[in-house]
């Protein structure tokens, strides 16, 4: 009980700081995920039409994905230095693999008979893509988008290590000082943010489905 009181005291004292770091964190995660998703979905569509290169592209994204995050920031250091830019670049790189893979998988899972039927009805390439293939692949693509949203909120914690700020500052300080108040004050907003992002994307997905009428 006393612990909880201490925790609330801590939160009250550092409220401004927590809010500022939460803002920085949301900025990193949102920008990183948005850039990542909006580069990976078109690239996924592009390579899904070219099976010969798609494998290589996904392999490259896979290799990038496996680089430990701190090592990644170390690699980026000589090229783009420190601050929020390398943090966002790292987030973008991490979001590629899930989105690329699911975009390809989603498009591949569309029944060829459906595509043929659409083409038989005189659909153009872009109509085929936007009216038939993407709506049908949407659940699979959105699944990866939601994964990426949660992932970037988590990885954005590392922003604190390259001077990009974010809730990682509280989490790492809490960890190294064994200060649980600080640690929890940093972790709760991260968790809430991840759930919030995931839920709002779920809502968006349902709206899109209604719009596409599937």
């Amino acid at each position: 009980m006393e612990g909880i009181i201490h925790f609330f005291q801590y939160v009250c004292e550092t409220w401004g700081e927590i809010a500022r770091l939460t803002g920085q964190h949301a900025f990193l995660a949102v920008i990183g995920a948005v850039i990542g998703i909006f580069t990976a979905v078109p690239l996924g569509i592009f390579i899904s039409r070219r099976p010969r290169i798609s494998e290589y592209v996904i392999d490259i994204a896979g290799v990038l994905y496996t680089i430990p995050s701190l090592a990644m920031l170390g690699f980026l250091l000589p090229f783009i230095g420190l601050g929020w830019i390398p943090a966002i670049v790292a987030l973008v790189i991490y979001s590629w693999l899930p989105v690329l893979r699911n975009t390809c998988a989603g498009l591949a899972s569309v029944d060829p008979a459906v595509k043929e039927a659409a083409m038989g009805m005189g659909a153009t390439q872009s109509q085929l893509l936007f009216k038939v293939e993407l709506p049908l692949a949407l659940p699979v693509i959105m699944a990866s988008v939601r994964t990426v949203a949660v992932l970037t909120v988590g990885v954005a914690t590392l922003g604190a290590l390259v001077g990009a700020g974010g809730l990682g500052e509280l989490i790492f300080s809490g960890m190294s000082m064994m200060d649980n108040n600080m640690l929890i004050a940093g972790t709760i907003p991260v968790t809430v943010m991840a759930v919030l992002f995931d839920q709002s994307l779920g809502y968006m997905e349902r709206r899109l489905q209604i719009k596409f009428g599937s």
């Binding site: 390259v162 001077g163 700020g165 500052e169 790492f172 300080s173 190294s176 000082m177 600080m182």
Partner: protein, 305 residues
């Protein structure tokens, strides 16, 4: 019948076992005997400065005395490993820091007087562990505040006190800098500082400063990278940071037996200042030279070998 046989077996086992134990004791005696022939085990910590100072001692002892030096323990590990190993008699000599001995080994509260901390450490080491602290080498590898030289000159900042006249400057630090009482919170109190905060990983301090992400950073005062980046260390004019004077510690038993060790190392006492140590560390950390060569070259340049 069966029972008596069991007892016989048991007795046999005890008999054989005790032989084994005696044998074990016997083999344990052996290395001590080989030391009598004149072998000194030199150890050190696991980073550039440790290697350099370890090899310096090894080379001097080899060249100046008839003793044989076992160098296999150079780079063995931190104080937490070296000190117990020395108490056990597994190693004979290694470079240590007064502050580390005083606060980590002896678990004493911070002292701010440079001589006092050495004298007290020396007395306690002799009394508690029968270890001799040889006189300090002359450099203090402590926590410090560094700043790019040009900026320091432009703002006319020489000491940490001067920093207090420039609020608004940004301090680059890691997850512990703003919470550990012996880093920023303590400095803030001692010097009345008001610095902005920029948090990065410990490994990126210098890079962050070089890129202008901040104005000052915490560092170790003999880090070779200070030379690489052209950073200057601000004087700790209120003696806030504890002193970590480099010195060799050696087992008293060994030193009594071979007093020539102290004679061999004597020219180093008080002769390695911070700038010298930074230069030596720079050769190993930045230029990636072999610490053995760096140690040898230094001794040659000082006409010691």
């Amino acid at each position: 019948m069966l029972k008596s046989r069991k007892i016989i077996y048991l007795l046999l086992a005890v008999f054989v076992g005790s032989f084994g134990l005696l044998g074990g004791c016997g083999t344990k005696e052996e290395p001590k005997e080989s030391k009598a022939k004149g072998k000194v085990v030199v150890a050190s910590k696991q980073y550039a400065e440790g290697y350099i100072l370890g090899h310096m001692a090894a080379i001097l002892i080899e060249e100046k005395t008839d003793l044989e030096v076992d160098k296999s323990k150079i780079g063995m590990g931190a104080t937490e490993i070296l000190h117990p190993a020395m108490v056990e008699g597994q190693i004979d000599l290694y470079p240590e820091y007064t502050g580390t001995s005083w606060m980590v080994v002896l678990k004493q509260p911070v002292l701010h007087d440079r001589d006092e901390i050495y004298e007290k450490t020396k007395d306690s080491y002799k009394e508690e562990f029968n270890i001799v602290c040889l006189p300090p080498l002359g450099f203090n590898n402590t926590f410090a505040i560094a700043m790019p030289k040009e900026k320091a000159e432009k703002l006319n900042i020489k000491t940490i006190s001067d920093l207090a006249d420039h609020p608004g400057l940004t301090l680059v630090g890691d997850s512990t800098t703003w919470t550990r009482p012996d880093v920023y919170p303590g400095m803030k109190k001692a010097y009345g500082l008001d610095l902005k905060k920029k948090m990065v990983d410990t490994n990126f301090f210098y890079e962050a400063l070089a890129q202008g992400q901040g104005d000052v950073t915490t560092c170790f005062s003999t880090d070779g990278r200070l030379k690489k980046y052209g950073f200057t260390v601000l004087e700790d004019d209120k003696s806030f940071y504890p002193h970590y004077d480099g010195m060799y510690v050696v087992r008293a038993e060994v030193l009594e037996k071979y007093p020539e060790i102290k004679e061999a190392l004597k020219p180093l006492f008080g002769n390695i200042d911070e700038e010298t140590m930074i230069g030596l560390n720079y050769q190993v950390e930045v230029e990636k030279k072999d610490p053995v060569e760096v140690a040898r070259e230094f001794l040659k340049s000082q006409k010691l070998i």
